[in-house]
Every structure is written in C-alpha cells, then in structure tokens.
Symmetry: C2
DNA sequence: ATTACTTCCGTAGTCAGCTACGGAGTCAAG
DNA sequence: CTTGACTCCGTAGCTGACTACGGAAGTAAT
C-alpha cells in the first residue's frame, strides 16, 4: 500500500479532510481509519490516502449510512475474501439502488414543483409523500392546486 | 384533504407504519406529523394519510435527511407560499441530485466488484473511496488520480 | 531554553433521535 | 361492573456520533 508523502500531522489532516481532530481520533478508536505507527516518542504522520478515507466516511454518512455500515463498505475497499465480500457487496448494492430509486422519485416531484411555481406563482403543494410508493410507473402526474 | 376512514388508534397506526407508538408521539411533539383532535375525554383516531406521512419520514431518514430537513420537505407537501417554497425546493433538489450522483458512483463500483468476484474468486479490492471523486460530472471538485 | 503551539490520551459532556416508565383515564368483552 | 389491553401525558434514560477538557510531552521559532 503506497503512501506517497505522509507528511501531515493530525491537525493538517483534519483541515485537509474538513473534519475535527477529535473526530479523527474517534474514527481511529472505531477502526474506521487506521492509526499509523507512532515513531518512538514522536508524532504520527498522515498522507493523502487518509484524507480520502475520511472524506469517504463523511460522504457516506450524508447518504444515510451508519458508521457500522460504512465500516462494512470499507472492508470491501480494504480487500476481503471474495465469498463474504461479494455477499456484502450485493447486499449493499441493493441498499444503494433502493436509495437511488427513492431519491429519483423525490427529485422528480421537487423538479415538477419548481417548474409549477415558475409557471404560475400561486400556492402550490408538492405530492412528495405519494412519490415514494408510486409503482415502477413513470407516470406524469402533475396535480396542482391553488 | 379528505381522510377516508380515520379508524386507527395510535397503536394500529404504529403497526401499519412500522414504527413505535412512542416514536409517533415524539414526531407529534416535533410537529412532523399532525396530532388529531381528541374527542372529549376520548381517544385520537388516525387514517391512511397518517401512515403515509410516517413512512415518508422514515424513508427520508434512510436517505440521510435530518428531522429538521424532513420537516422542511413536509412543508412543501403541505403547501407553502410559492416564493419561499420554490427556493426551498430548488435547494433540496440540489441536495437530492448530489446524493443520487454519489450513490450512482458507489453503485457502479459495487456492481463491478460483484462481477469481478464472480469472474475469478480470489481476493479482491473495491476502489470505493476513489469512486466518489472520479470526474465526469459536477465539475468543481478535483484531485488528481494516479 | 523559553515560549507558543501541537500532539497524545483518557475521560466526560453534548446533541439528535428515539425508547422506557409510571400512573391515571378509556373502552370492549365477558 | 370488573378485567385486561390500550391510550394519554410527562419525564427520564438510552444509543450513536461526536465534542470538549485537561495535563503531560513533543516541536518549531525566537
């Protein structure tokens, strides 16, 4: 595993990945990110790979994954045995596709709403809730109300 | 907004929406879901619209929205004035599209991984982290890849 | 080699989002 | 008209994910 230039201290890493130092330590305790060797009586150093990993954790969180789930995903990144890995990957893939699907429905309805608002600026409602269980149908329902 | 048959007690509603009774009460306190009138010295009744609303909250949570954000989204559902509503909708639309984009990248890499595993079942790693900033879209975030 | 800033590490506190508890009231069934 | 399940309501406790605190020790610039 190549670290090009592990030159950052934990403070620099935190700045680079846009998280707090204490968050990094917390993730180290949780084994979400590796804790590099401490040179005898010295200070740990970090590199670009650590920045990436932290940013991945943050992004995955925004997508609704818990730290436990993220740790699963990172096991795939880190290389696991194929059998278990592929089972996990397939499971996560279903999760991800469902999320994409639901977000797609929300996107559609929000988009329609914005258009409607531009078209005639009255009061308007947005059938967001209904969007989530509209069957695979791509039906264009544009219900409006004043 | 017509409720066809508001016949459920809070317990039935909880079962129907697959949440705990106490969660419903909590959401009522937070004004995420309405608290129906209590008939003098009686018990509140709920209908299908309440089930839908609860399920929407749960789904949105799994997609990474906080309860505050969900309450914003529900304001759109409930009908707000066009000007503010459309600003909010546009903002949320950007959020949603970004989430879809990121999930799409993760999906792609997970999918590839599953295939690879089926192809030759050795140890394998999955460039999940890198997937999130693979160019091709969105534009303004760059970091050179090796 | 003194000063000012970090790092390190452990423990404790915070905030969001529930979840449990307890006592009084309601209601359908027997 | 009692029993047992459930509702109502307030308050307290819990879990996940941080965030803050404090003291010793490392490090960089003067």
């Amino acid at each position: 595993m190549p670290d090009k230039a592990n030159s950052l201290t934990i403070g620099g890493l935190a700045k680079a990945a846009n998280v707090h130092v204490e968050t990094i330590r917390y993730y180290q305790r949780r084994r979400l990110v590796p804790e590099p060797e401490r040179p005898p009586g010295g200070i740990r150093r970090y590199g670009p790979a650590d920045i990436e990993r932290l940013m991945f954790v943050k992004t995955a969180q925004q997508l609704g994954f818990s730290l436990v789930e993220i740790s699963d995903l990172l096991q795939l990144e880190d290389g696991a045995h194929c059998q278990e890995a592929s089972a996990l990957a397939e499971h996560k893939l279903r999760d991800v596709r469902e999320k994409i699907d639901q977000l797609g429905r929300i996107e559609k309805v929000l988009g329609e709403m914005v258009e409607q608002c531009h078209a005639h600026p009255d009061n308007i409602t947005c059938p967001l809730i209904a969007s989530l269980h509209e069957g695979g149908n791509g039906g264009n329902d544009q219900r409006e109300r004043t």
